[in-house]
Subunit: 660 residues, 2 copies
């Protein structure tokens, strides 16, 4: 036989708690300005009433937790309860759910039903008096009884004694029962972690450019000082993160040439990812003072610098001689260069995470982040994190954030789904996605539904139409309408988006060879000159998209994304709302086809937006992107979109006649 429990267990059950990642092994992600909605199944057996509370606190890693805050949970439907808290601190928080049999409510509800059925409740009222006397004692004994709670209990007690059944409908029962009702034996969920980031981790627009390339009348190898001159334009387009590829000295040994040639010509500049020193600035870009000036110039314009951290070394990197044990030795004593057989990358040595000297290695890598944090950088785009050990990232990001909780890490991994998700779980605040390769309506819908539901508590997508590594076939051959559609999709499907700047603005679409996603004359291997004043530039569209994003709270979130059926395989329709109900619902319809006109009915239930619309009511949709306003009715409305004239609608949904 099996031993009895040590004491009578609680009859209340707590199950299926969210947001919880891997049963609490990892923290769920949250951000300032966004409520953390906790949901759980809470119930007891039979007909007895249960009470439930949400407790939460700030619990910084390595620090002392604050006191618990406690709020009542509200019943939703079918044993599901919810409560939300809005954190005000950055860093690790914790929450827990408590549940108990609510004897006072069981009594009140049962007695009310009997009274409604004209059953004599005199014996019940005597039972209620005993319950209320107990509440009264507890209210009096409370270290800080709230307001006139004691008076309220005494008033109910007088009602019970006088046999006045009106007291059963008194609105004070809930709060008094929650505050002073007996909760023993109590059920407790596990304590679950939530990591709170600043808002920019959840909502951001990134602009990537190579600072050594030139614009306007610049020539040769541009400097960081010259790159500062490009910031006004980027800020005017509405971006808030300026991301630069590595700004470090580039290795000379086995340097790659233009278009990834194995052998460099004497004047080739090499790839910025051929890093010869993680703690130095490329001399032709400038000095550490220039980095500081760049950081300040971004800040002055309401933007932030993100730098690239690529943990790999060229053969002439100081670590190779100072710490050869941090690299993999081959059987012949040489150091193993990077390879993905049969491909070889002789200019790069990968780091050996299985080194016996792992503790020193991990600290040195963390020190790279610390070094640049000391220079004012708080956002890091991490190159290929999936080829480094997950436990390293988990420790490294936790330790950096325990010192600087405003640090943001973007994972540049394009690999298998489980690996990308694990990187997000171990702490990356944002992640690159498969968006670039999801081009049909059905696959965008499937992918973003997964992102907005299954992985939404830990994986924050950052959607890019292009990167220096990815020029999709669609962009190569689709023409301007495809660039337009991809920008609109990235900026509205995802709360975080970014572009590889000049190449996207200027519709750069030439691949190095057919079948390749590499750019011809890629900036990765050479300096380019860009004519940013090209009248065909997409800058006006991008500017408008970022304006709409900033103005519309609905676009600051992913969780509320919902797709809608359309009578056309080439139209994609989705909507978003702000979880706090601020601003308008936004409804987007995009023609994914760059060549043909497409039309169809979109199926949107107007009742879903909390605007009080009925099934067949009229409402207005106002196109924030293309202009125009339409009076719609019911849940089935007609849309048509023609490439060149309007690739998409970005509608705000309004009551009829409401001013914008």
């Amino acid at each position: 036989m099996t031993n009895l429990p040590a004491s009578r267990p609680s009859r209340a059950v707590i199950e299926v708690v969210t947001p919880v990642v891997d049963a609490g092994r990892f923290a769920a992600k949250a951000a300032l300005g966004e409520p953390v909605a906790v949901i759980a199944d809470v119930f007891g057996e039979g007909h007895d009433a249960v009470g439930a509370a949400l407790r939460w606190r700030f619990a910084p890693q390595g620090g002392r937790p604050s006191l618990w805050n406690e709020i009542p949970m509200q019943f939703l439907v079918n044993d599901r309860w919810t409560a939300a808290f809005e954190p005000t601190e950055l860093g690790r928080h914790e929450f827990q759910i408590l549940a108990w049999s609510d004897h006072l409510e069981t009594w009140r509800h049962g007695t009310e039903r009997k009274h409604e059925a004209d059953v004599d409740i005199s014996v019940e009222l005597i039972g209620g008096e005993a319950l209320l006397l107990d509440i009264l004692d507890r209210a009096r004994d409370a270290t800080s009884p709230i307001g006139d709670d004691v008076d309220a209990v005494q008033a109910l007690l007088a009602d019970v004694r006088s046999g006045d059944p009106a007291l059963l409908a008194d609105p004070r029962w809930d709060v008094l029962s929650f505050r002073y009702g007996r909760r023993t034996p109590i059920a407790r969920s596990n304590v679950f972690p939530v990591d709170v980031d600043r808002e920019r981790a959840r909502f951001s627009a990134w602009y990537e450019f190579f600072p050594r390339s030139t614009v306007g009348d610049q020539t040769g190898h541009a400097t960081l000082r010259q790159a500062i001159d490009r910031l006004d334009r980027i800020a005017a387009m509405g971006f808030d993160v300026v991301y630069l590829p590595p700004i470090h000295p580039i290795g000379v040994v086995n340097r790659k040439g233009r278009n990834n040639a194995t052998t460099a010509e004497p004047d080739d500049t090499g790839s910025p990812w051929g890093i010869a020193d993680h703690l130095a600035v490329h001399p032709e870009l400038g000095t550490i003072d220039d980095v500081r000036a760049f950081v300040a110039a971004c800040r002055d314009r309401g933007m932030e610098l993100a730098i690239d951290v690529a943990f790999q070394c060229t053969p002439d990197h100081p670590w190779v001689t100072e710490h050869p044990e941090w690299f993999r030795q081959r059987a012949d004593g040489t150091i193993q260069y990077a390879e993905n057989p049969p491909k070889k990358y002789q200019d790069i040595y990968p780091i050996e995470f299985e080194t016996d000297d792992w503790e020193a290695l991990w600290q040195a890598l963390a020190d790279v982040f610390r070094y640049w944090i000391d220079e004012g950088v708080r956002i890091f785009r991490v190159d290929n994190p999936h080829t480094k050990a997950f436990p390293f990232w988990e420790w490294c990001m936790a330790t950096v954030r325990s010192e600087h909780p405003d640090t943001i890490f973007l994972a540049e991994a394009f690999t298998r789904p489980r690996v990308m998700e694990r990187l997000a779980k171990v702490g990356f605040n944002q992640s690159y996605t498969y968006f670039t390769w999801r081009q049909q309506a059905w696959e965008l819908r499937e992918y973003f539904t997964d992102l907005a539901t299954r992985t939404v508590d830990f994986f924050r997508p950052n959607a890019w139409p292009n990167t220096p590594d990815i020029l999709t076939e669609q962009l190569q051959y689709g023409g301007r309408p495809v660039f337009v559609a991809r920008a609109i999709l990235a900026a509205t499907l995802s709360a975080n988006w970014g572009i590889y700047g000049p190449a996207f603005e200027l519709l750069e679409h030439r691949a190095v060879r057919p079948g390749s996603e590499e750019y011809l004359d890629s900036e990765k291997y050479q300096i380019r000159h860009w004519d940013l004043d090209d009248p065909d530039s997409l800058a006006p569209l991008i500017t408008r998209l970022n304006e709409i994003r900033r103005a519309q709270p609905a676009l600051h979130h992913l969780r509320t994304l919902r797709f809608h059926d359309v009578d056309s395989e080439q139209l994609l329709c989705f909507s978003k709302t702000d979880p706090n109900g601020v601003g308008d619902p936004i409804l987007v319809v995009v023609n994914l086809d760059g060549r043909e006109h497409h039309a169809g009915h979109v199926h949107v239930d107007p009742r879903a937006y909390g605007l009080g619309f009925g099934d067949d009511d009229e409402f207005d949709v106002i196109d924030l992107l293309g202009g125009g306003q339409y009076r719609w009715r019911g849940w089935r409305n007609f849309v048509e979109l023609t490439p060149g004239r309007g690739q998409a609608h970005v509608f705000a949904i309004h009551r009829p006649g409401d001013a914008r």
Copy 2:
């Protein structure tokens, strides 16, 4: 900052393990004769190979666990791995997943790719020699090296030294690497519990009847000895569990009359659920010797007795006077009778699970099971378990099963979904379902899809077309075709099914009043006489259904259930296979409409059944129920079903021309 791990952590990750219930808080359910398929996401970072093992052992509750068995896991797709074990003991088992970086496989695979790309691998072969020497040491040191493993390693070593690249494709790598490869640092999943039941918990056919009712030339109050005479017929129909409503003395105080009248007439027999003593036999049914005879008579016919355990007491139950503290006292000192306001059940006192004397109460309740187990009963249909404390059930079933692991508990709860699921989690081997009220094709599909996926690891449905409490409106008004359809659905959708016997066989459909699901002249409140020789009886259909169920392994399982689209809202189509691949795939098409003919194409992908069919191949479907055989082709085939002539097909899928 955050402390470094105490030692270098494993780079391997183990995630999303199944079967796991609530992160391991509860045991997954398994049964003898069914493999436990364990699936998990296992991966490392980058391109390194990982190895994974499944460990499992018998770990009886309160007993000493056996040694771990260990088998390699196989790669499925996208970082998903699997392995299965087939338990041979009843009771608690445990499993765990181990994962590690597989350096030998990383070396072999990388070297093979280089060799295929004509890259010189001489340095790699030297590295391979070192790895193999290590394997050799470990094979020699193994406490029990297997077969010629040492020779095999030496042969590979010779190949490496001679530089023969053919060794890279040697089939022995996998097993040698698994047995002797270094696994440090290793990743371990949690240890997860699995409870193994006997096969009847998973696959059973129940027949319920009231033993006091009469058949044939019996008159008055039938006895258990007379009820034994009914067993041959029940066994001939193919049932294997005979379930009797409570056989205890019925209380006299406040006894209910016929058709649930509040006041009984002097000759009224009362409800069997009005229990006056849980440890005694109703004198008019017989004695404990008669129960023993009934148990033996069932066993002789390959069946088993299931008795009803209803934890509630009539006012004249001995516990009421011996343990008044086990019941709820009202404020006026009386004992609280059962009620669901405004309904009152004055003949019944519910048990007070919040009693301070809970330890003695729990033991007394467990002793009720022990008492009947000592009399040979091993199956219990538990009445209204949802109105008793979950922690009690969890302890009670664990303690009873630790003594008698072959005990089976069926939860008779028809309440909210989360409550029904919790009862299954805390240990009920089988559960009643909402099947009775799921009548449309879409709702049957939705409900059974949920049962076969989300809850399949812990909730075993037992589907009943009727019970003494539930005569659905559909059965009241649908006529014989609806009875036929419901029997076929219950017997084939669910691996466990049952009927409330004579009433179902004889198409009993008269309700006590319009809008009620209670039978007119319900056997719950009076003795009935049944004419089992009625020529319209459904016995032949039921017999055939149970024959098909026994003969077809596919119908012994729920997990493989898949639904298929049909071009008719009134046709439901689904299929099942045996998880071990034994026997034929079974494809069922049911006309849910009792009045009208319905026809349409069913969409079944013939490639899904592992029979080697292509997309457009021909195959045979043989109707095991109605007879007939059809040659089908491809994934879209025509079906028509006419009430009265054939309500359903129960097809076995065959290769064309194969004998049955």
